[in-house]
């Protein structure tokens, strides 16, 4: 059961990613990405991270991607229509080889490793909100604080950019 869920969710996620890359239209690409994120949430669930699974849907699929869609809609025009020109044909191999090489190499490296089955004996409530919260506000308090700083900076930055834009126009 676990294996089935893992592989199906994983496959769906890859599908979502590939489709996103191949789409010409930005809107459709965004929707495919949402699809991939929901699949990712499934992967998290398989990996005994229920809290993450929920957050993935809420934050990623829900908030971030909506932001993307908003922007795409707002800009409209060429963004909606996607790219007019395709990449020149001779460049395709050049563009494809390095990622493929990375994939092959990483794959080769991963396959070298002695396979160890995922641990099944997990403490109660592992990956649940309580557990994550304990880690987040305990050992990783500093990381938590850093997150808040990063977000604060992002807010200020976004505001500054938006503000400057209004002034310019």
């Amino acid at each position: 059961m676990e294996a089935f869920l893992f592989w199906s969710c994983g496959a769906l996620m890859v599908l979502g990613g590939v489709m996103m890359v191949l789409q010409r239209s930005a809107v459709v690409a965004a929707l495919w990405l949402v699809f991939a994120f929901i699949a990712a949430s499934g992967v998290f669930a398989v990996l005994h991270a229920p809290f993450l699974a929920i957050m993935q849907v809420l934050v990623y699929a829900g908030a971030i991607m909506v932001l993307f869609l908003f922007v795409i809609m707002m800009l409209q025009g060429p963004v909606m229509e996607g790219e007019r020109k395709r990449m020149a044909l001779p460049l395709w191999p050049a563009a494809a080889i390095p990622p493929l090489a990375v994939l092959v190499l990483v794959g080769a490296w991963v396959s070298q490793r002695t396979p160890e089955p995922l641990r099944t004996a997990l403490p109660d409530g592992f990956g649940g909100p309580r557990d994550v919260a304990a880690a987040l506000l305990g050992r990783y308090l500093l990381a938590f604080e850093l997150i808040s700083v990063v977000l604060l900076v992002a807010i200020v930055g976004a505001l500054a950019l938006g503000h400057g834009e209004r002034k310019a126009s």
Binding site: A94, P98, A101, V102, L105, V106, A108, W109
Partner: protein, 682 residues
Amino acid sequence: MHSPETQTVVQESLLRWIVLLPLLGAAINGLLNRRLPRAAAGAVACGAVGLSFVLSVVAFLRLAALPAGERLLADIVAPWLGYGPLRVDIGFALDPLSAVMALVVTGVGLLIHIYSLGYMSHDKGFQRFFTYLNLFIFSMMTLVLGENLLMLFVGWEGVGLCSYLLISFWFNEEANAAAGKKAFIVNRVGDFGFLIGTFLLGVTLLPHLEPGEGLFSFRVMQHHAHVLAPVATVIGLLLFVGATGKSAQIPLYIWLPDAMAGPTPVSALIHAATMVTAGVYMIARMNFVYVLAPTAMEVVTIVGAATAVLAATIATTQNDIKRVLAYSTVSQLGYMVMACGLGAFAAGIFHVMTHAFFKALLFLGSGSVIHAMSGEQDMRVMGGLAKKLPITFWTFLAGTFAIAGVFPLAGFFSKDEILWKAFSSDGGGVALWLVAFLVAGLTAFYMMRLVVLTFHGTNRASQEVRHHIHESPLSMTLPLVVLAVLSVAGGWIGWPAFLGGSNHFEHWLAPVFADGGHGAAAAAHHGGEALAHGAAAAHGAADHAGDHGHVALERGLAAASLAWGLLGLSLGYLVYSRRTKVADTMRGLAGGWPYRILLNKYYVDEAYDGAIIRPGFRFSRTVLWKGVDAGVIDGLLVNGSALVVAVIGSLLRLLQNGLVRFYAWSFTVGVAVFVVYLSLKG
């Protein structure tokens, strides 16, 4: 070796005030400047120098009260340079030599200060002038009273600075400013040699010093003089380079005639009576080095003699009254330097003193003339001033006779002594005597020419100038009279033995010039031996006392030089007062070339300009600045390497094409390469 501490030296705090009072005066005048009324400024300046003179007399009397072998007063004020074994103090010392100089400097200085009250009374830079003048006295006294060679150097540079300031006093004229700068720079060239000589001296002495001994202190140097023997020649020559700058000897005499751009009292004080004699003083002060260096002495003698001739010949053709006197000064300085070169330091200093009297007199007299002529300095438009300026004329005449060596005026004694030394010393001889003799005649000739052109005949000036001619005020004539008296009688203290005198002057200086060690330093240990030795040396190496044949010879030579001087005077009178055609004929001699060469001062200035100054500037501008700096270093190396960087950069720039996707692609390539590397590494 015994350190000089064991010896008694009288601490005399008076000395510092002799030096500092003029500085105080300069400070007051300099800081208050125009806020001080003229009368007060003049009073401050003259008061400071006057007090300084009085103190000098007091110090002199105290010095004279000491036994002959121990005449040394010292005043160490504070340590100056102290680092490791190097110890130099701010200190002053008074010995018979510096006592003479101090009296001359403050005495003549005071007279010239008083004279300036009248001469500068209408100048708007009155306070500034007296500031500089006081500053000069301060520097000169530091030079004279300095306890060590570096203190002497402080004064040495200080008087150079004051000379610069005073020559370019009327700086509105570009020429005056240029003359001042020239004086300072030429002096600096001399100082370069002086400084190197000082280094060599210090380096040689340093390992031999005992604890607490100040390097460069004259006493210490004299005490250890024997260790200097191997390098004495080099030191002597290097120091002499400094003296050629300050005392206007070949090849650095060129600044002195130009220095006449300054106000006339300045010419009298600095460029005749005091500062220019500093070189002579320095050589005399360093006599213990020079006696170890016969070669250096020879050079000094030759340079002195050559300068005396060169300047005297030029002086016969100049038309500017002050320039004649300037070249005359150069010539007389040559005399003094020559005397020092012959080992006759006392004779040199004697001439320094008498020269100070009569040359100051002559310059002040010429100042009085210029004052009367509304600033005119060209003798060709003067004439007939004798009646209108009687005091000036008579005092000037006294000065002229003194410099011409007419018995019994001051110049006779000092000049005759030098002539005798030129004849009789080891370094001298008949040839040298003839040269000096020739110069004496020339001197008489050109001085008489000056007197005749200025005071005789009819006045050749314009109506307006002639209308304003008047005798100078008392403040100017009084110093003239005093100096005239000194010019007449000032030589009597050196009345020589062969004329029945006892030459007090030479005896007074004898301990300073005692051979092979300071009289005082030696006295403590060698007792009377050194004294006897010193006394013997004082009479000159060749002059074995009591030799009757020599006395007769001396008398004969003196008579000859007196006659020769009178002949020169008469010739000058005849040529320029009556038969002016003779002068024209002389001018036209040999196609006029000799005259033109003399008139243009042998073209030395032009030669320096063409051979050194212009090429130097051209080299600096075209080769060094535009060539090396802007061309090679900045152009080739700096901007060249910038160019290389730019080429590499533009190659790299092909990669940096601004395509974000290309960057991402390269990034991926990099990751792939890195993974390969990791896997290969295992």
